[in-house]
């Protein structure tokens, strides 16, 4: 009987064993066919895992970091950034500034766009005029609004005259959306894919990736070491990190904070992190308690920034007790300590404002970005501790945008970055139409005037004095209450050389340095 049972079991097991063996063999065969985990890639080809699929590129419009990444590869402006994030000429071989309102750009000789057409001073004039026109939706308006005239002096020389000095003007010209493009791209309908950058788009496969090939017409083509960049889209943070760790790709952007340690501890992988965007609490100041600057100041003192940083970013970042001035030597020590964590001071301010027993409020966040939700939870606890009973409202990102733009909140948690590091980026928080990421109904012309004075200053002393005045006003009027800056990381294999994660807000423009990146397999 036992023999019979055993033989029947064996018989039953045989097909399964065979099936398992077949599956294992098939798996090994597949692995062998494809060269194991990741195909090792060809020499001169960088395999890049990008965190999002870029939308259709629209000329002059800010469309997010994935799109900016592509712009840094296929386009160049008159100015660009070097591996230290310093401003250097791009398409312009040189820039002369005979006086604070005149800029003479001399272009490199023989520039062409990737479609083969010549890039001339007229293209420069037309592109800049397009970006300076508010009707075209460009985010460069703050930098280019002072342009009085643009003259194409010759095929390779352009003179731009400003109505007043603007010490951020050149930095605005290095923003990826300030690229010089063919006249045919100067509209909202033509995809902005023809440029004069180090690479050109060879193939696009929606939902999968894109291939970029070296553009030989680039002004610095001799120094471009990569023949090709093979971009694959990995929207999920874990999947992106897995792709790098397993060797499927050579490089990824936007390492999520929970993956910092895992990626950083992997042999043969470099994690490059830089403090980037900042998080803050914004207010609806149209009515209610937050219309009172004392209450806003109380919120700024109530926030435990270390806790928020730990909750949202596993401490990968820095607490922010003021405003980001991007380590500008001329502004050293200014604006960085406006509010400390001091719950007692917060309670005093609330009492002074007439709310000794606190009040109730809604805090808008979003369920779509965990770090914003975690930041909101931390802020909720802090405000609860000083007597403000906060109810969290966390719709998806689309709902968050709509509610933010409509002022449908009392408090909101946001993250943002200046498109330039010059403190003029703060102007949009105190002036102009309401939008989703600034305090609703807030305006302060005094701060705006000081910031503008800083922008107009032609020497460091005057500039520092103007910004100091602006930051003092910030401290008491509190257009927003800062929380922290988060580390923004790129990661890459040891085989990759020459890439640099640019510091501060420029981290999102680090794609510029791929022009000087190489890969040794």
């Amino acid at each position: 009987m036992r023999t019979s049972l055993t033989s029947r079991l064996r018989a039953a097991a045989r097909p399964r064993t065979a099936a398992l063996t077949a599956a294992a063999v098939a798996s090994m065969t597949l692995a062998a066919c494809g060269g194991g985990s990741g195909s090792s890639g060809e020499a001169g080809t960088l395999r890049f895992g990008l965190s999002a699929e870029p939308v259709t590129l629209t000329t002059g419009v800010w469309q997010g970091s994935a799109t900016n990444f592509v712009l840094t590869l296929i386009h160049r402006g008159l100015m660009t950034l070097d591996e230290d994030g310093e401003l250097v000429p791009g398409l312009a071989a040189s820039v002369d500034t005979p006086d604070p309102t005149t800029y003479v750009f001399t272009l490199h000789e023989g520039l062409t766009f990737s479609d083969g057409s010549p890039l001339t001073a007229t293209n420069v004039k037309n592109s800049l005029e397009y970006y300076a026109n508010p009707d075209n939706g460009s985010t460069l308006i703050a930098g280019l609004q002072d342009i009085a005239s643009i003259t194409a002096d010759s095929d390779t020389q352009v003179t731009v005259t400003l109505e007043a000095p603007n010490n951020a003007f050149l930095e605005f010209l290095a923003v990826p959306t300030a690229a010089i493009v063919p006249d045919a791209s100067l509209n909202a309908d033509t995809p902005n894919i023809v440029g004069a950058g180090p690479f050109e788009i060879e193939e696009q496969n929606e939902g999968v990736g894109m291939t970029l090939a070296k553009f030989d017409g680039f002004y610095d083509a001799d120094d471009v070491a990569l023949d090709e960049i093979d971009v694959a889209y990995y929207p999920d943070g874990d999947a992106r990190a897995n792709a790098l760790v397993s060797g499927d790709v050579d490089m990824i952007d936007y390492v999520t904070w929970e993956n910092f340690d895992r990626v950083g501890d992997t042999d043969g992988v470099e994690l490059a992190a830089q403090p980037g965007p900042f998080q803050y609490v914004q207010f609806n100041v149209t009515d209610g308690p937050f219309a009172d600057p004392l209450v806003r100041e109380a919120v700024a003192y109530a926030i435990n920034r270390d806790n928020a940083l730990t909750a949202a970013f596993q401490s990968n970042g820095q607490p922010l007790e003021g405003v980001v001035t991007s380590n500008d030597p001329a502004l050293e020590g200014l604006g960085d300590e406006l509010w400390t964590y001091d719950p007692d001071r917060a309670k005093e301010l609330l009492a002074e404002a007439g709310y000794p027993d606190g009040f109730s409020a809604t805090l808008l966040a979003t369920s779509q970005y965990t770090f914003l939700q975690d930041t909101a939870l931390s802020v909720q606890q802090d405000l609860q501790a000083v007597g403000i009973d906060v109810t969290l409202d966390a719709p998806d990102w689309s709902g968050r945008l709509e509610k933010g733009a409509a002022g449908d909140y009392d408090l909101a948690v946001s993250g943002d970055v200046g498109i330039v590091t010059n403190p003029i980026y703060l102007l949009s928080f105190v002036q102009g139409p309401d939008n989703f990421n600034r305090s609703f109904g807030y305006a302060n012309e005094e701060i705006a005037a000081s910031l503008t004075d800083g922008l107009r200053a032609t020497d460091d002393e005057t500039r520092a004095a103007a910004y100091e005045e602006a930051f003092d006003l910030f401290a008491t009027d509190v257009p927003f209450a800062s929380i922290d800056t988060r580390d923004q990381a790129w990661a890459y294999s040891d085989d990759v050389e020459g890439f640099s994660n640019l510091p501060g807000f420029h981290t999102f423009f680090s794609g510029y340095t791929l022009a000087n990146t190489s890969i040794e397999r």
Binding site: A26, Q63, G207, Y233, D236, V245, E402
Partner: protein, 316 residues
């Protein structure tokens, strides 16, 4: 039989029209402005109200809702599903690219699930004892184990530890068949585990129920061997509920492979749908939902027809 099939098709068409209307209304009722989203991607800068209004106009979102509905309906009926708000790609083209990938994934997962699940469940029912108990435990785990957990475990083992398979991504068959197959195998297995467990459990209970029927005993008493009775009569008669499970399961998988697609960065139809919902890309959401609805209804019609083939009493 023809009347039966035509009746099923008529109900199916009605269902698709209903889904079409419901999805349009649902999308427009949910808060969120596609134009604002398009101009507010990530950090840095926010669009002015004027810029948002211009994009709304470009996308036709400034039109009255009824006009938009009519445009959508007439477009859908003529096969024009519009263009994606995000990348301008024709929705039918996007679906044409993504659907075969998802069908391939679901097809392979279903094949694995059926090939493993049906014999496994039947064997458990027939053998009973410890094999049945182990089957119950394993299939319970298989059903309960979230697909993203199992998928992540596969990645951990086969990609990160053993380095045998890529962690995720996609390559066209035409570009590199070997890598295409490599990239398909783990998502398919991850998707198949829960499905195979469900099929095994369904097969087991159906076979057990059938084994206790009087006619089984009668067949045995007439001299037919146990094996013959099992293979020719019991298993076949047990397959009706299994076919239903497979049919519904395949339909569900078509719209719910999203987790597996996320874990493995597999650009299928489900991730297209979820990304489109997040971005309020109305034409894409509508197009994908219509496609899934048509497929789901078609599969159910096929299942209904199969019932008729397997059991003529259903046709009455």
């Amino acid at each position: 039989m023809t009347t039966y099939v035509l009746r099923r098709i008529g109900v199916g068409v009605g269902l698709v029209l209903l889904v079409l209307t419901l999805i349009f209304l649902a999308l427009h009722l949910v808060p969120g402005d596609p134009a604002m989203l398009l101009l507010s991607q990530g950090d840095g800068g926010s669009a002015t109200p004027d810029a948002v209004a211009r994009v709304r106009e470009q996308l036709g979102l400034d039109q009255p809702l009824l006009t938009q509905y009519w445009q959508f309906l007439s477009g859908a009926l003529t096969g024009d599903l519009g263009e994606s708000f995000r990348n301008g790609q024709a929705v039918s083209e996007a679906i044409g690219e993504r659907l075969p990938r998802t069908l391939e994934l679901v097809g392979l997962a279903t094949l694995i699930a059926v090939v493993v699940g049906v014999p496994w469940g039947a064997l458990a029912a027939r053998k009973g004892g410890w094999f049945d108990s182990v089957t119950s435990v394993l299939t319970s785990i298989g059903v309960a184990l979230p697909v993203f957990v199992f998928g992540s475990l596969l990645v951990l083992l086969f990609s990160l530890e053993l380095g045998l398979l890529p962690a995720g991504g996609f390559t066209e068959w035409g570009d590199d068949p070997g890598r295409h197959a490599q990239l398909l195998i783990m998502p398919a297995i991850a998707l198949a585990v829960g499905f195979a467990s469900t099929i095994a459990r369904m097969t087991r209970s159906a076979v057990l129920e059938m084994l206790h029927q009087d006619w089984v005993r009668t067949a045995r008493s007439l001299g037919l061997s146990r094996r013959t009775v099992f293979r020719k009569y019991v298993l076949r008669n047990s397959l009706n509920p299994v076919v239903t499970t497979v049919g519904i399961g395949v339909g569900t998988l078509l719209g719910s492979t999203v987790l597996v697609e996320k874990v493995f960065s597999y650009p299928g139809l489900s991730s297209l749908l979820v990304d489109a919902v997040t971005a309020r890309d109305y034409p894409v959401v509508q197009g994908v939902v219509i496609t899934i609805a048509v497929l789901f209804v078609s599969i159910n019609i096929i299942v209904d027809v199969l019932y008729g083939v397997l059991d003529p009493r259903v046709r009455r």
